[in-house]
Amino acid sequence: MGVNAMAELEPVRSADAEYDLVMRCQAGDPHAFEMLFRLYHEDVFRFAYLVVRDAGLAQDVVQEAFLKVFRSIGRFQFRSSFKSWLYRVAVNEAISLLRRRKVREDLDASAEEVGMQVTPAASRDWQPEEAVLEDEERSLLRWAIGQLDPVHRTVVVLKYFHDFSDPEIAAIVGCPPGTVKSRLHRARELLRNAMAREMGRQDLVALSYARLSDHPV
């Protein structure tokens, strides 16, 4: 690929450029597909990573979302921005992937209960103990964000990481803007409660440890 072709593939972020690219995709231009991908794949990957919390799964979400979008781009009628549409597909992919994974994990858990040998599901949970050296409150917040259910985590990521407005989030997740506001408020409440609970537990552990230290066996 020559220098000019590479320059052509450099992402250009503007509504007009996006419109042109989508029109070219609808006309079947393969370069336009690539340019749209390059324009958005990093954002979509980071969004997916923050929601599913696993780089491999996030990659799957990105691939499936872009494939779905490219397959049906011929039917896209510009009723919303392409970006909103892409994110909507990515949100649905991420949430359905997490649901499938949860079903599988539940099945694995029940199999373990009856004594079957199973491969542990690949998961990467941030445990509070992991971040001993980090600032305690920050690590607690990180852990608490990980504890949010996918629906609340999605609106939190769209709002605080991608800086989407409430109406944009509403269009992406397919609910009224009022519901977005209440979900955000609820998410922050859940974060606060999770952090308070965990801090209480840690205090209890520290107290027990101190008592054990005072009275060695």
Partner: protein
């Protein structure tokens, strides 16, 4: 107190910065898109060929239908040997006339099809016999 928005924003940015966007995603997507396009092209070609063959099929069907009429549409009365053969092969019907004659006359199988009566019934129109088992 609720966690401040800025703290959440900062934490999400920190988490996102820790992960590297993997290379090669576009190649995989392109590969899958191309494979799908190839499949669709093959399917279209296949459908096109089948459509192109439609006149041939039509001709074959018409020829086959005419052949069947010629083969089984004989006006000849079934002879005793033919009736015996039909019984021997446990066939349900032996037509004395082409079946369409009986259809046209509204004289059709149900009366003859069920039951195990073996006998002869006469077509009201042609006066020929239909042997039923």
């Amino acid at each position: 107190m609720l966690p401040p928005s800025e703290a959440i924003r900062e934490e999400l940015r920190r988490q996102a910065a820790q992960v590297q966007v993997p290379d090669g995603m576009w190649d995989q997507i392109r590969g899958r898109l191309e494979a799908e396009r190839r499949r669709q092209r093959r399917r279209r070609q296949c459908v096109g060929r089948l459509r192109a063959l439609t006149p041939v099929w039509g001709a074959a069907l018409v020829t086959g239908a005419i052949g069947l009429v010629v083969l089984f549409g004989s006006d000849a009365e079934p002879q005793g040997a033919a009736i015996d053969a039909a019984w021997a092969y446990n066939r349900s019907f032996v037509y004395a006339r082409p079946p369409q004659d009986y259809l046209r006359a509204g004289y059709f199988y149900p009366a003859l099809e069920q039951g195990s009566v073996v006998g002869r019934e006469q077509s009201p129109q042609s006066g020929r016999f239909l042997i039923a088992e």
